[in-house]
């Protein structure tokens, strides 16, 4: 999907090697005042994989993801992207690395229209370095059309749009700029059933294109339907990372609430290789 959308301004990227680690977070720490929001957490993500991140409010999942997105500085620890150590000090750094985020709050400027929001921070410019409104308008309409055929009021301030339409704007941002690594923080929290299904389909499409996705969600149904692996955090620490199909909903709840690892289940520090890949390796 990202390949067909590939617009003039956005970088084009080939399909990544699924066996090469896309993101590796090593021993990440973050403290706010005296509170350890994220305490020595390690987690990784492979291309075409959805890793769900679970935990109570305040468990540190959003903080961890905001560090990856460059919104918070990292106290200590390493971020390794494509096997190379990366410095993510500001959102712009993350964007350059192909990391896009869809925040729970959607991070939209309510007073600007959908087009302006899609390109916010990365406007298309004419050769005089002025805003190229017409080109942005035309490009934006194409992206919105793909996500929602009925979305035509692209020039009204986004505050007047419905929850689903606002979500379309936020998601378009990730798609238009060809994210390789996508962080979705509660992407379906404010949506109706139809729009939730749309987001689900989109996640599957992006997976097919080799995009790696971190999915923060409280919705067990979404987690089990969409994720390949799941990681549970509690009080800023990592409880464990498992293949989604290896664990039950009760076991996941046990990890979230009590912070205890399920008995007899092995952790999955990397995704299971598909049959074909295992054969090739053997």
């Amino acid at each position: 999907m990202s390949a067909t959308l590939s617009p003039a301004g956005a970088p084009t990227r080939g399909k990544p090697d699924p066996s090469r680690c896309l993101v590796e977070l090593r021993n990440i720490r973050k403290a706010f005042g005296g509170i350890h929001a994220v305490d020595d957490v390690s987690l990784n993500l492979y291309p075409g994989e959805v890793v769900a991140l679970l935990g109570h409010n305040g468990a540190g999942k959003s903080t961890l993801m905001k560090m990856l997105a460059g919104a918070y500085p990292i106290d200590s620890g390493e971020v390794i992207i494509d096997g190379k150590q990366a410095q993510v000090r500001a959102p712009a750094d993350a964007q350059r690395l192909g990391i896009e985020s869809i925040y729970q709050t959607l991070a939209l400027a309510d007073n600007l229209d959908a087009v302006a929001n899609l390109f916010l921070g990365r406007e298309l410019l004419t050769r005089w370095r002025t805003l190229d409104d017409h080109r942005m308008d035309a490009e934006a309409r194409k992206v919105f059309q793909r996500l929602n055929k009925n979305f035509t009021n692209v020039q009204t301030p986004v505050r007047r749009l419905s929850g689903g339409q606002r979500q379309v704007v936020a998601i378009s941002r990730a798609i238009y700029f060809n994210a390789r690594i996508l962080i979705m923080d509660e992407p379906t929290a404010a949506l109706g059933p139809e729009e939730t299904a749309m987001v689900g389909n989109l996640i599957r499409q992006l997976k097919n294109d080799g995009v790696g996705i971190f999915l923060i969600s409280h919705d067990m149904y979404d987690v089990f339907a969409l994720s390949d692996r799941l990681a549970v955090m509690k009080n800023g620490q990592m409880v464990g990372t498992y293949q989604t199909r290896d664990v039950t909903e009760d076991e996941v709840l046990g990890m979230i609430i009590a912070g205890k690892q399920p008995a007899g289940k092995t952790e999955a520090p990397r995704p299971a290789l598909s049959g074909a890949q295992t054969m090739a390796r053997a």
Binding site: A92, L108, N111, L112, A116, L120, R122, L131, H134, R135
Partner: protein, 396 residues
């Protein structure tokens, strides 16, 4: 008929601007009737335009400051400080007007960087920073020349303030008016073409023509009015006053920044949702500091116009100016909560305020009543703003 309503609804017409322009017209006609035709005489229009220029220049940038969720209470004092500084350098130190003006600009930028640093980097509310500035820079305006008035004698410089010699004459005014009209038509046409080229729906042709014709008529009648003002003992009529010309240039420049540059878009994004602006990677602090620099530039320009108008720099220059500037901005539809406002609105707001003031002056309304009424006009504008925003669903 239905089709007409449909096209109007689809067109991005700012009804608020239309309403404000209507209010201005109604005010002008009412005062004109009450003053037996004096209000709309070329002489009065010339004076109103000229008197509004300084407030108008500052209001354009105040729109952006307020849109970005800040406020500047110190503009009047800084204007006084910079004005006296330039006048002193010219009168007491014999600097040329251009070096003095550049020194003034440098001082204004230093002031803006100081206040901007405290606001954008340290995070002190701009209300507090500029409230302190309101007092401090009034004091600085006194200190520069020890409170002595600094006369200005340079003839070229004096013309920047308008007045007797401060207009560009009829021919130049017509040429300029024609150029503006041509630019307007060319701009509208290119916009329409570009929309078609990208397959974006366009307005009906008649509507685009109408939306071009209205500003054309305004430009032409403005030039005609300014050219009709003939000071009795002068050989030729006045034409457009230079301070008004400066104001027009400033308003066009700031509008350009707002609509066509990243800077302008970022200012609005920061006002609409500061968290989102930071999350999408807008360099929030740098944009804020740049905005303060723009403020410094326009304060210097306004200071030059004011001292040229007064023929002197005095330590009371610009006293209470911040109130007029903020009032013009707010009457012009800029929300104090940030995120919305327009340059054209500030122009209309400044004109509405000055028209009411000068109309009452013509009618010999005592000064006390003038203050009472202007203050209530400001409140009426904000009440309207609140009601309007609730009606459009911007506010709960």
């Amino acid at each position: 008929m239905n089709q007409i309503i449909q096209s109007l609804r689809r067109a991005s017409i700012d009804w608020r601007m239309v309403l404000m322009a209507t209010v201005l017209v109604v005010i002008a006609i009412t005062f004109n009737a009450m003053s037996n035709g004096i209000f709309l005489s070329p002489e009065n229009l010339y004076n109103v335009a000229q008197q509004t220029a300084v407030v108008g220049i500052l209001a354009t940038v105040m729109v952006l400051i307020i849109v970005a969720r800040n406020i500047d209470l110190s503009v009047g004092s800084v204007l006084g400080f910079i004005g006296v500084l330039i006048a002193t350098l010219m009168y007491s130190y014999n600097w040329s007007w251009s070096t003095a003006a550049l020194a003034g600009l440098a001082a204004a930028i230093a002031v803006a960087m100081y206040q901007g640093y405290l606001t954008a980097v340290i995070g002190v509310p701009s209300f507090v920073v500029t409230l302190g500035g309101l007092m401090s820079f009034r004091g600085a305006a006194f200190l520069v020349a020890d409170g002595r008035t600094q006369p200005i004698t340079n003839e070229f410089f004096l013309r920047l303030g308008g007045g007797y010699e401060g207009a560009i004459g009829t021919t130049a005014s017509w040429v300029l008016g024609a150029l503006m009209c041509a630019a307007l038509v060319a701009w509208k046409a290119s916009q329409r073409r570009a929309r078609q080229a990208y397959g974006v729906p366009t307005n009906a042709l008649w509507l685009d023509c109408l939306m071009t014709a209205v500003p054309l008529v305004i430009v032409i009648s403005f030039v005609a009015a300014m050219n009709a003002y003939h000071i009795p003992n002068k050989a030729a009529p006045q034409g457009i006053p230079i301070p008004v010309l400066i104001w027009i240039a400033v308003a066009l420049f700031v509008s350009f920044l707002v609509h066509r540059t990243r800077f302008g878009r970022y200012v609005f994004a920061m006002g609409g949702n500061p968290d989102a602006a930071a999350l999408v990677g807008i360099p929030v602090r740098r944009v804020m500091l740049l905005l303060f620099c723009l403020l410094a530039l326009l304060t210097t320009i306004a200071a030059i116009v004011s001292i040229a108008r007064l023929n002197a720099g005095t330590n009371s220059l610009g006293t209470n100016m911040e109130l007029l500037v903020i009032a013009a901005t707010v009457i012009g539809g800029t929300a104090l909560a940030g995120g919305s406002g327009s340059i054209l609105g500030s122009v209309l707001g400044a004109l509405i305020m000055q028209s009411i003031d000068s109309g009452m002056l013509l009618l010999d309304v005592p000064i006390g009543w003038r203050y009472v009424i202007i203050g209530q006009v400001l409140i009426a504008a904000v009440v309207f703003d609140v009601v309007y925003r609730k009606w459009t669903g911007e506010m709960q």
